[in-house]
């Protein structure tokens, strides 16, 4: 299948600091791809370069067949962006925000009038169509930003942390609508800090840190490659009789990764305090990017 986004050797330096140092990526049409990485890993800068909002210092990008910094208007109109920070128009109503965006996309008034109610309905905002944006809850604002990005009926939707700060109900609702967009054949590229979100939505994941791709693949591939299928978190002191092959010391406890869990459970002394769960993307993420806090 044809790639909708292709980037190679992408680099960006801001005043001597390398924010992105050599990212390659290829995204096929109709897929949902997640960029995962700690704060400051270079995810947002990468997305801004793909949108043509930031000129790469080095490297080559093709998005929908065009170079982002000199993208023809027709190509630009096929992309919708959900930015990380909320930049809705606080003084306008919900409906006016969508209408204004329709005009920025160059849509005819008749098309705007047709699309706005559909999008309000899609994001369950019809009841609040006349409300001032400044009176909306965080979840509603986020839904409106998503509806706004869809005004031009884009083929490619770029989402920078679409559900950060939302309650579980709002997140589930947004996930459902993103999966609906995927079923319509749209290509989605998203960043997130939520591993469950990435596992649920993404066909492919790129783990990014320090401006470079650490590894990429399906969530299952990544788990298989970097950790084992089961995780046992065992409180210290550790029982001596355990086979401690792949472990990670957390201080008060130890994570033990194993493929076969039965023999370990049998070898565990009865007084041991432990928790058993399947390995997930978060284990991969922490293994690849380390446990140290990034913003100190």
């Amino acid at each position: 299948m044809a790639s909708i986004i292709e980037a190679s050797g992408l680099k960006k330096t801001f005043g001597g600091i390398e924010a992105v140092r050599g990212i390659d990526l290829a995204i096929e049409s109709g897929r949902c791809v997640g960029l995962l990485g700690p704060n400051g890993a270079g995810k947002t800068t990468t997305m801004r370069m793909l949108m043509g909002l930031c000129r790469p210092s080095e490297g080559k990008i093709t998005v929908l067949g065009a170079t982002p910094t000199s993208m023809p208007r027709e190509v630009r109109a096929r992309i919708g962006l959900v930015p990380q920070e909320d930049n809705l128009d606080p003084d306008l109503t919900v409906r006016q925000n969508l209408e204004a965006f329709g005009r920025y996309y160059g849509l005819a008034t008749a098309d705007i009038d047709e699309r706005v109610p559909q999008l309000l309905d899609f994001m369950q905002l019809s009841q609040r169509a006349g409300a001032q944006v400044m009176h909306l809850s965080g979840g509603m604002k986020r839904r409106l930003v998503l509806a706004r990005a869809m005004i031009g009926n884009p083929d490619l939707v770029i989402l920078d942390e679409p559900t950060t700060g939302l309650d579980p109900q709002a997140r589930v609702m947004i996930w459902r609508q993103l999966l609906a967009l995927k079923r319509q054949g749209k290509t989605l590229l998203l960043t997130t800090h939520y591993m469950d979100e990435a596992e649920r939505l993404c066909d492919m994941i790129l783990m990014i840190d320090n401006g470079a791709v650490l590894d990429s693949g399906t969530p299952r591939d990544l788990i298989g490659r970097h950790v084992k299928a089961h995780v046992l978190e065992i409180d210290k002191p550790l029982p001596r009789e355990l086979p401690l092959a792949q472990t990670e010391d957390l201080g008060d406890s130890v994570l033990l990764f194993v493929d076969e869990v039965q023999s370990v459970l049998e070898a565990m002394p009865p007084e041991t305090v432990f928790n058993h769960r399947p390995a997930n993307l978060e284990d991969v993420f922490l293994r690849l990017t380390g446990r140290q806090l990034r913003e100190r």
Binding site: C54, R55, N87, F101, R103, Y104, G106, G152
Partner: protein, 258 residues
């Protein structure tokens, strides 16, 4: 320029208009009442001391100056403080630039919108002054409006250029101290600039405001105008518009995209 005045630039203008509509009263207060207060204070206060200037009653002399001041202050304010709020606080510009709309279209929309705010102010001064009997020639007053529009574009362009360089709100205190205040004091709003020492006169001619006042005052008080002089003044205002717009565009292009 021609291709920049299109429906995308209009979309930016319309967005500002819709927002303005919602706070029309507070907006009118600053844009209209402010110059009108000045008009009364100087027209009647100072006018009772100074009987005539340039051969006309002081009130008639000061009305064109107050119209110029209203246009200058409102368009400059909109292109700096208000535009900076959209740019850096509300991030409205970021949202716009994530769509097919280009930076130059965004700036054309902001430029024309800011100039319209200037027109709102000076038109209000004209109406109030006409009712008060301070406008001897209504035709002259109406003829002054297109000149005021051109000058408002020049003021808005300079404001956008300042916004393109501004890193914080404090930056605008320089803009008001070193740009707005001199145009208020040295450009002939209150008295003819011929009364200043030469070096101030040279400086005054750099300011677009001086060229504006120099055209609209004779128009409104019925003095003769040399066509060539008018052409030079209008040409200067047009040049300031174009140059300041290009400076704003290039500065913002580097600031936003590099």
């Amino acid at each position: 320029m021609n291709t920049l005045i299109n429906r995308y630039a209009f979309a930016v203008w319309l967005r500002n208009f819709l927002t303005w509509q919602k706070m029309v009263w507070s907006s009118l207060a600053s844009n209209v009442v402010n110059p009108v207060i000045f008009l009364f204070a100087f027209g009647f206060g100072l006018g009772s001391v100074i009987e005539t200037m340039a051969g006309v009653p002081y009130l008639a002399f000061i009305v064109p100056g107050m119209m110029a001041y209203g246009a200058m202050f409102s368009s400059s304010f909109e292109a700096t403080v208000s535009a900076y709020a959209r740019f850096q606080m509300q991030r409205t510009w970021d949202a716009m630039l994530s769509t097919p709309l280009t930076l130059s279209e965004l700036l054309v929309g902001e430029l024309v919108w800011s100039a319209c705010k200037g027109m709102l102010s000076c038109t209000a001064v004209l109406v109030v002054a006409a009712i008060w009997g301070g406008v001897s020639s209504i035709a002259g007053g109406l003829l002054a409006l297109p000149v005021l529009m051109l000058a408002s574009l020049a003021f808005a362009g300079c404001g956008l250029a300042a916004t393109a360089f501004a890193r914080n709100w404090e930056f605008f205190s320089y803009f008001f101290t070193f740009w707005i205040t001199p145009m208020f004091m040295f450009s002939g709003v209150f008295f003819e600039i011929g009364r200043f020492p030469d070096f101030i006169q040279v400086f005054a001619w750099i300011l677009p405001m001086t060229h504006l006042v120099e055209v609209i005052r004779p128009l409104m008080i019925g003095l003769a105008l040399q066509p060539l002089d008018v052409l030079i003044h209008l040409g200067y205002l047009a040049a300031v518009t174009v140059v300041s717009f290009i400076v704003a565009l290039y500065r913002l292009r580097r600031r936003l995209f590099d």
